[in-house]
C-alpha cells in the first residue's frame, strides 16, 4: 500500500499537555516537520523557554536544553558559536521574548547571530494564568489589566517584527498565524525558510506566529480564532518584514508585506 501521510518522526510519542485549541501543538509539529524534511533532525539543538512551552523538550525529538526566562537567544548563541554546523533554534513566547528577554532578542538580531527564533505571540502570559504581556492589545483584559489594557497605565503593545526590521542584522523576519489551514501552511513554509537560511550561514532569522490562547483569553477555541483574525492581525499585520534581496526579487508580489492602514 502506498503511504500518503505519516506522522513526523521529529516529534516524540508523548501526548502534549497543551490546552484544547492552543496553537503550540500545531507549531511544535511544524518545527519538527521542518527539521525532519531538511534532513537535519540529528544535527539540531533546540532551546525551550520558560512559559507554557517549557515542556517543549519532551515533545521535540532532538537534543534540547531548557533555559532561563527570556535568555533563549543568548543560550542559542552559546551553542551555535561552538557548534556552527548544527541547526540551533530558540522557541519563545511573547513574555519571554519581548519583555524579560527583549535585550537578548535585540542584540542577537543586531549581531546577526546565525540562529533561528520561533516566536509565539498570543498576547498573554499563559503558564502563569493570564497576566498582561508586552503584546497584549489595548483594551484586552488580563488578570493584571482586569479592566482592559490602557495606554495611560500600560503603554502600547510591542510589534517585534517591525522593531527588529529596523536593524541591519536580521536576514529574515516573517509574521504568520495558525488560525486556519492556509496560515498553517504559510507558517510551515516560513519556518523551513528560516532554517534553510541558517543552514546556509546567512544570519539571524525569526518567525513570529500569532497564536490563540482560549484558556487565558476566557474564550472558546472558535472565539479565540476569531480574535486572532479580527483583533490581532490588524495590529500585528502578517507578512515578510525582512528577507535577502535576491529572494525578494524572485518572490511573487502577493506575499509582500501588508502595511497597517
Amino acid at each position: 500500500m502506498k503511504i500518503v501521510f505519516e506522522q513526523t518522526k521529529g516529534l516524540t510519542d508523548i501526548p502534549m499537555r497543551y490546552c484544547p485549541g492552543c496553537g503550540h501543538g500545531v507549531v511544535h509539529r511544524l518545527v519538527a516537520e521542518c527539521y525532519e524534511e531538511l534532513g537535519v533532525q540529528e544535527n539540531t539543538i533546540g532551546v525551550a523557554p520558560v512559559g507554557c512551552s517549557v515542556f517543549a523538550d519532551e515533545y521535540l525529538n532532538i537534543d534540547m536544553i531548557q533555559g532561563a526566562h527570556g535568555r533563549g537567544p543568548a543560550i542559542a548563541t552559546g551553542i551555535k558559536r561552538n557548534l556552527p554546523d548544527k541547526l540551533a533554534f530558540s522557541y519563545q513566547g511573547d513574555g519571554d521574548l519581548a519583555s524579560i528577554g527583549a535585550a537578548e532578542t535585540l542584540h542577537a538580531a543586531a549581531r546577526s547571530e546565525n540562529i533561528t527564533i520561533i516566536f509565539i505571540n498570543n498576547a498573554i502570559y499563559g503558564m502563569t494564568g493570564g497576566q498582561m504581556a508586552p503584546t497584549t492589545l489595548l483594551g484586552m483584559r488580563s488578570t493584571t489589566s482586569p479592566a482592559g489594557r490602557t495606554v495611560a497605565a500600560n503603554g502600547y503593545p510591542i510589534r517585534v517584527c517591525e522593531l527588529l526590521a529596523a536593524l541591519d542584522g536580521p536576514v529574515y523576519l516573517e509574521r504568520t498565524t495558525v488560525d486556519k489551514p492556509a496560515g498553517v501552511v504559510k507558517t510551515r513554509k516560513a519556518i523551513k525558510r528560516a532554517f534553510q537560511y541558517q543552514l546556509e550561514g546567512r544570519g539571524f532569522t525569526l518567525v513570529e506566529i500569532l497564536s490563540q490562547c482560549p484558556t487565558d483569553w476566557g474564550m472558546t477555541p472558535l472565539q479565540s480564532l476569531e480574535r486572532v483574525r479580527n483583533e490581532m492581525t490588524p495590529y500585528f499585520p502578517l507578512g515578510i518584514y525582512k528577507e535577502p534581496e535576491d529572494d525578494k526579487k524572485a518572490r511573487p508580489k502577493k506575499d509582500a508585506v501588508k502595511k497597517e492602514s
Binding site: 518522526k9 516524540t12 533532525q41 540529528e42 544535527n43 539540531t44 539543538i45 532551546v47 525551550a48 517549557v54 523538550d57 525529538n61 532532538i62 537534543d63 534540547m64 536544553i65 531548557q66 533555559g67 532561563a68 535568555r71 543568548a74 543560550i75 542559542a76 548563541t77 552559546g78 551553542i79 558559536r81 561552538n82 557548534l83 548544527k86 535585550a103 537578548e104 535585540l106 542584540h107
Partner: protein, 360 residues
Amino acid sequence: MSERILMKGNEALAEGAVRAGCRFFAGYPITPQNEIPEYMSWRLPETGGTFLQAESEVSAINMLFGAAAVGRRVMTSSSSPGISLKQEGISYCASAELPIFYANIVRGGPGLGNIAPSQGDYFQSTRGGGHGDYRVFVMAPKSVDEMANFPRICYDIAFKYRIPAMVLADGILGQMMEPVTFDFDPVEADSLSIPDWALRGSKPEERRVVKSFDLRPGKMEEWNYRLEKKYDEIKAEEVRYEAINTDGADLILTGYGTSARICETAMAQGRKEGLKIGYIRPITLWPFPTRIFRDLAGKIGKFLVVEMSLGQYVEDVQLSINGRSEIYLHKRPAGGIPTGEEVLEVAKKVLSGDKSKFYV
C-alpha cells in the same frame, strides 16, 4: 612547565584559563576586572576559541549556559554587582550540572560601592549565591602566581563533578604584577574528550536533554539529594588549605586571599619578635577547611580573624571552632586594606588580654 614571567593578576588568570583549555568567553565590562575580557578578546581567537562581549552580565552567563551544554571549557568574569546579575544563571548551571568557570574580582559594596579591593562577597560565593540549594567550588588565590594556576584546578573539579567553579579574588590581586610560573602543561582543548551528556545533535533514541527542573511530585526533592551527594563527596575530597606554625602557637591568625597575605606578613614579623603566632589560610572557601580549625580548637586559645569585610569569613571559623577557643575579629570593609603592622599590633593586644576585638 614554563618560564617565570611578570604578569598582571587579571591577565594571568585569563592566560591560566586559556592554558587550561578554555575556548569560550562571554563577559561585560566592569572595573576592576576589565583586563580579563580585554585579554580574552585577542587571546582566544589565536587558539581557535570564541570571545563575545555580551549585552549584559545576564546574557553573558546564559551564553555560557549554552556553550557549557555542548561540552566546551567556558569562562566568564565580572566584579561584585555583575556577579549578582549572573547568579540566576549560575543557579541554573548548578541544577543542570553544567561545568562552568568564572571569576569575581571583588570591589567595594553594597550597591555600586566603589572600585577598591574588598572581600564583601564571601557569603555570596560560599553559600551558593543564587536561589535554591546548591554550592559552587570556590578558590581564593593570594598571589598572581595562584591566579595563573587555579583556573586549571577549577576546570578539573568543574568537569569531574559537573559543577560551577570560581575564583574569588579582589582588585589588588587583579591589578598587581608579580612573577608567574604556570605549573602545568597547556591543555590541548581539541583533544579533550566530549562528555557523554553534552548536546551535539543525536539520533532520536539517544537524544539528550539539559534542564534544571522537574515538576513531577517528589522528583525535584530527589534531584536535590542527587546534587547533595556530589557536594558531600567534594567536601570529603577537595578541601585545600595552608597551615603554618600552628604547633604550640598562642595565637592563630587567619584570613583568605589578600588578607591571608597580610596575615603572613604579620606572623613573620611577630615571630621575629619572639611571639608564638601561627597562621591558617583556606585555599578553598567552599568546601571550607573545617577540620583543621576543629582539630586546633581548644588546643590553641585564641584565633584572630582578619577580613576585608564586616564579619563574613569569621562565621565559618566560628562554626568550625564551635565555642572551644576565643575568636577575635579585625575587619576593614569596602576598600579598607589592613597592613601587616596594623594586624601585628592587634595580635599583640589580643595576646596581652585586650578584649576590644573580641568576637565570640
